[in-house]
Every structure is written in C-alpha cells, then in structure tokens.
C-alpha cells in the first residue's frame, strides 16, 4: 500500500471512528463559522436591504465599497483584527486575541460585506417589483425592510449559505487571530495546514473530507432551496 493509500485509509478510519480530536476540531470550526454567520447576518441583511430601499448622497460609493469588500483578502482582515485585539491595540484590554471570539470577529468582518452586498442585489430587485405597491399601500419605511427580507427569504438563504461557505473554508484570518492553539482555537483549515506541514497526511485528509462534505452539503442545500422556491413560485 502506498503512503497516499495508507493516509487515505487512515483518514477514513479516523472519520468513521468519530475520533475525539477530529470531532473537537470540526465542532469548533462549525461553532466559530456559524456564530460569525449569525452576527454577519444580523449586520449584513438589514444593511444590504436598507441600502437597497433608500436613496441618499453617496449611495453609489457605499455600493462600490460593499462590492469591493466582498473580495477582501482574509489575511488582511486577520492582520487588522490582530492589531485591534493585541495588547497594544485599542481593544487589547478585552483579552480576546487567540480565543474563538477573535476568530468569530475576524470571520464576521470577512463575510458581513459579502452578505450585505448580495442582500443588496436580491432586495433591490424585489424592491423594484414591490415599490409601486408599497407606495400605494403607504407602507412605512420601517415595515419595508423586514417585508422585503421576508419575501426574499429563499434567495437570502442561499446568500447566507454562500457566507457560511466562505467562512468555514477560510484559513488566513483565523490563523492570525486564533493562533491555531490545540484544544482552544484549532479549526479544520488551520489544522489541515499544520498537519500537512508536519507530514501527518491522514489527519489532514480526514479534515479535508469533512470540509469537502460541508461544501457539498452547502451546495446541495442551495439547490434544494432553489427547487423549493421554484415549486412555491418564490412565495
């Protein structure tokens, strides 16, 4: 059996034996990325929707900035969050550096613009359809945003899944602000990088399988949501 085949077999054994170390890393990854997704959703969904329904000076600039921030390099975000949270930084007193909270903050900053920009696109399109109805029904502004967010729920679910996919697969930012500390801040991507560097390909491969499985699940969920939306005429 070649090294590669051995590593492959060991990886499957680790996976199907529910290796505690592996489970711990996967669980932390999901906890960090789902927390970041929740926070980014709280920020990005209403912000994107508000930009879609309001007209104000500089709106075009905000939209350009949002779109530009979709492509922010994770290591740059990691560096900025590191500078904010390090002892000498403005938020150093909180002592969050090298904790899961720091990783959540970094991932939130990474995916909130993605969620906001995609939400803006989805909601602006729906707003075009609803705007005359809203004006006719005298729907106040504070009701427009939640109404649009609710009615665009199928599309926004796929937006959230895109954000989750980006967060869970990210390595640069969490490596910088989390430090890849065993049993504390080690997540799938940082563990894969470490185990590969150490030559422990089985562990890296097993985690890689989980990541690929998550990617397949996310994409499967997107397809299922789209089909459900189409069946229900997006209603």
């Amino acid at each position: 059996m070649s090294d590669f085949e051995q590593a492959f077999a060991l990886a499957l054994r680790l996976l199907f034996s529910f290796d505690p170390a592996l489970i711990e890393i996967v669980a932390l990854s999901l906890k960090v990325s789902l927390s970041a997704l929740f926070l980014a959703g709280l920020i990005g969904l209403p912000f994107g929707a508000a930009v879609a329904v309001t007209r104000f000076p500089g709106r075009g600039g905000v939209i350009i900035l949002l779109n530009a921030m979709m492509g922010l390099p994770p290591v740059v975000i990691g560096l900025l969050v590191y500078m904010l949270l390090s002892r000498a930084g403005p938020l150093g007193v909180l002592g969050l550096l090298y904790t899961p909270a720091a990783m959540i903050i970094a991932q939130t900053i990474l995916i909130a613009p993605i969620i906001a920009a995609l939400t803006w696109q989805v909601v602006e399109s729906l707003e075009g359809e609803y705007s005359e109805l809203f004006r006719s029904m005298r729907v106040p502004f504070h009701r427009r945003v939640p109404t649009l967010l609710f009615d665009a729920r199928f599309s926004l679910m796929t937006v959230m899944l895109a954000g989750f996919g980006r967060a869970v697969a990210e390595v640069g930012a969490v490596m910088i602000v989390g430090g890849n500390i065993d049993h504390l801040t080690r997540v799938m991507t940082t563990a894969i990088a470490l185990e590969t560097a150490k030559g422990d390909l089985a562990q890296a491969l097993a985690l890689g399988f989980v990541l690929v499985l998550i990617a397949i699940t996310v994409n499967g969920a997107v397809i299922v949501i789209r089909q459900a939306a189409r069946r229900r005429a997006y209603a």
């Binding site: 609803y130 006719s136 029904m137 109404t147 609710f150 009615d151 209603a235």
Partner: protein, 237 residues
C-alpha cells in the same frame, strides 16, 4: 350621503397637468366627481386613464394643479384609499398572509377569514399567492385592498386579462363593495362592464376629460365625437 362618501366626495381635480420627458401626458384637466357609487374612467389607449388614476391616488405628483377630497387637499386630509393594479402584485407569501399584511397596515379591521370568504378564497388560504389562477390573484388583490379599510378604491382595469367567468366574479365583488358605500373609481375599456357597473363615466381623450355624465346617457348618447366613436366601437385617433 353615506359616511365613507362624505369623507371622499367631491373628488376635485383643478388645472391638473402631468408632463414627462417634455411631453404633456395629462391636462390641463378639470374633474369633479360628486356622485357616490362607481365612476368609470374610459377612453382609448393612451388617453391617460391609468395616469389620472395614479395622480388621484397620489402615486405620482402632478406637474401642476390640485386634487382635493371632500374639500381637503390631497396629502393632508386624503381619505383612506387603496388601488388594485391591472397586473396584481402579490407578496411572496400565502394568500392569508397577503391579507394579514394589509390588515396590519390598517391596524386591524375585518378578520382575515371573513375577508377571504368574501373573495371566495377560503380554500386557498394557505396556498402560495402566486400559484393562484389569474382570476383568483385579482380577487386576492381586491380583497387585500379591502383589508386596508379604504373609503376610496381605485381599480385599474382589474378584469383586463380575465376570462368571462372570472370577470363576473370580480364584478360581483366590485358591486358588493360599492353597495357598502365605498367610492370606486374604475378604469375600464369594456363598455359592457361600464354599463353593468358604472354610475357615471368620465371619458378621456389625449389627457383630458372630454365628457362626464351618467353612464347610461354617455354610452347611448355621447355628445363629443371622440366618445361617440368610442362607444360606437369605431377607432378614435
């Protein structure tokens, strides 16, 4: 005069003009609707009927002129009003949720189940609104407009794309609403519908009201050549 009508009538437009892209689309136009029931706005395509409806409803601002309801300027003391579009815009949710949304905007009113029953949509309450047939969608749009508890209801060719049975169901609903004392302004091309429903007709041509009078009189003995040609089913250019 019934209570709703007292808050609405007379509907007066004075010196109303609307320009877009340098073209005068409406006016100068003067119109006084002082009669309750159903007023039909009729005229050939491009006469400005739907535009006038939108101006009266406040969806668009006139370039010049004033609109008032029961002596009060539109905006300040406008009555509660609703508009049903030719192509219904339904929220992406269930039939009942569409009604609930309007009801919440009106701050209560008739129960959702009762509104749906009046529209003959009880069985479809939980269905996605956009999966209804064309006739059902338009009845839902009308029921949702009624959930806003309007004193004045604008209808923009609500049966234009419906088959005869669906049209009759809509007309029954419209007649029932008018009987409850809610003033209705209806845009229609359909002379038969105007004959069945309208109390008075305001006939438009090239952005102006050219004739306004009782429905029967106007259809049978219009005074202007444009209205005569229209009701005689000749092309009006």
């Amino acid at each position: 005069m019934r209570s709703h009508e007292a808050a609405v009538l007379p509907i007066e437009a004075r010196g109303l003009r609307y320009k877009a892209g340098g073209r005068a689309l409406i006016g100068p136009l003067d119109l006084t609707i002082s009669q309750g029931g159903i007023t039909a706005l009729m005229g050939p395509n491009g006469a400005g009927k739907s535009l006038l409806l939108r101006l009266l409803h406040g969806l668009i601002r006139p370039t010049a002129g004033t609109i008032s309801f029961s002596g009060r300027a539109a905006g300040d003391g406008a009555p509660r009003q609703a508009l049903v579009f030719q192509k219904p815009v339904l929220l992406r949710r269930s039939v009942a949720a569409n009604i609930s949304f309007a009801r919440s905007l009106a701050g209560g009113g008739e129960h959702v189940d009762d509104i749906l029953a009046e529209a003959g949509l009880t069985a479809q309450a939980r269905q996605p609104a956009r999966l209804l047939s064309g006739g059902e969608q338009q009845r839902l749009a009308l029921a949702r407009a009624m959930a806003l508890r309007p004193q004045l209801l604008f209808l923009d060719e609500p049966t234009a794309s419906l088959d005869p049975p669906a049209t009759l169901l809509m007309e029954d609903m419209i007649a029932g609403i008018a009987q409850r004392g809610i003033k209705i302004v209806l845009v229609t091309h359909d002379v038969g519908q105007a004959r069945r429903l309208a109390d008075d007709i305001a006939f438009m041509h090239q952005g102006r009201i050219v004739e306004h009078g009782p429905a029967g009189t106007l259809i049978e003995a219009a005074e202007t050549k444009e209205a005569q040609a229209f009701f005689a089913h000749r092309l009006v250019l």
